[in-house]
């Protein structure tokens, strides 16, 4: 794994850590979003674990979680949906950047996660974009 690729994986993992922190907060505050937040938390937890393994396998120290994250207002369901959609869109950007750095099965996996993340962003209310993660 070269330096550029390692950086991309780390940035992706840092955002997954933020997602793992965010969704329980949303689920705890808003009953209407509890089920969706729980599902998202499980998906992001799995991804976090997978990304930690990728970096560990490359003998790279994975970043750890922060105590908390500054995500903006979470005063209403609409706020929470906006924050979640925004985080998924930032994830799309980090994953899209990595697609061009990897090959073979690794690229296949990264593209698959980009697609799933884009759909998740839309499920939280993000408007469809022609090129998610590139703008």
């Amino acid at each position: 794994m070269n330096e550029s690729e390692a950086l991309r994986w780390r940035i992706w993992l840092e955002l997954e850590l933020e997602a793992v922190w965010l969704y329980p907060v949303i689920g705890a505050r808003f009953d209407a979003l509890h089920a969706a937040a729980t599902a998202a938390h499980e998906e992001h937890s799995d991804l976090r674990d997978a990304l930690v393994s990728v970096l560990a396998d490359a003998d790279i120290e994975p970043p750890g979680p922060l105590v908390s994250y500054e995500v903006g207002d979470l005063d209403s369901v609409e706020d929470a949906q906006d924050v979640a959609a925004g985080l998924e869109q930032r994830l799309c950007a980090s994953i899209a950047a990595l697609t061009g750095e990897v090959d073979g099965e690794e690229r296949e996996r990264v593209v698959r996660e980009l697609r799933a993340t884009a759909v998740r962003a839309a499920s939280w209310g993000a408007a469809p974009q022609p090129f998610p993660g590139l703008g």
Binding site: C92, S94, V111, A121, P128, P130, F131, P132, L134, G135
Partner: protein, 140 residues
């Protein structure tokens, strides 16, 4: 986070790949949009992006022939324009949800087959965009 400039560079780079078919001057075109050209076999990517354009035109035609899919068509037009094509004005019959889903799978496969990192990113992102359209349309 990827900046809009990178989006434009990536998109235009893909368009430049198409342009190469006519000009044979990929490096000049890519330099012109601020992307540092890298040595790479481009012939396969040129053919790939041409095939992508053709398939995207088919999906756009189906969207144009589907009532209530104007917003979908607008995004599909942007795909084609970013790849250097002219969006079709033809309308065709077809099942839009299936067309979007199939196109997303095809673009993902195309991203796996592409050589240039810029083209990989653009095609992978297109697949994700088509998935968003499919999810939105099915949820409408």
């Amino acid at each position: 986070m990827t900046s809009r400039r990178v989006l434009l560079a990536g998109g235009i780079a893909a368009g430049a790949v198409v342009a190469l078919g006519a000009t044979g001057r990929l490096d000049d075109v890519v330099r012109g949009v601020g992307v540092k050209p890298r040595p790479r076999p481009v012939d396969a990517d040129i053919s790939l992006v041409r095939a992508v354009l053709s398939d995207q035109q088919r999906v756009l035609a189906i969207a144009r022939g589907t009532a209530g899919a104007e917003d979908i068509a607008e995004v599909l037009e942007q795909h084609i324009a970013q790849l250097g094509g002219t969006p079709t004005t033809t309308a065709e019959n077809g099942t839009l949800s299936a067309a979007l889903s199939e196109a997303a799978d095809h673009r993902a496969g195309d991203a796996l087959a592409a050589t240039s990192p810029d083209v990989v990113r653009v095609l992978a992102s297109m697949a994700a965009g088509l998935d968003q359209l499919s999810a939105t349309w099915e949820g409408a």
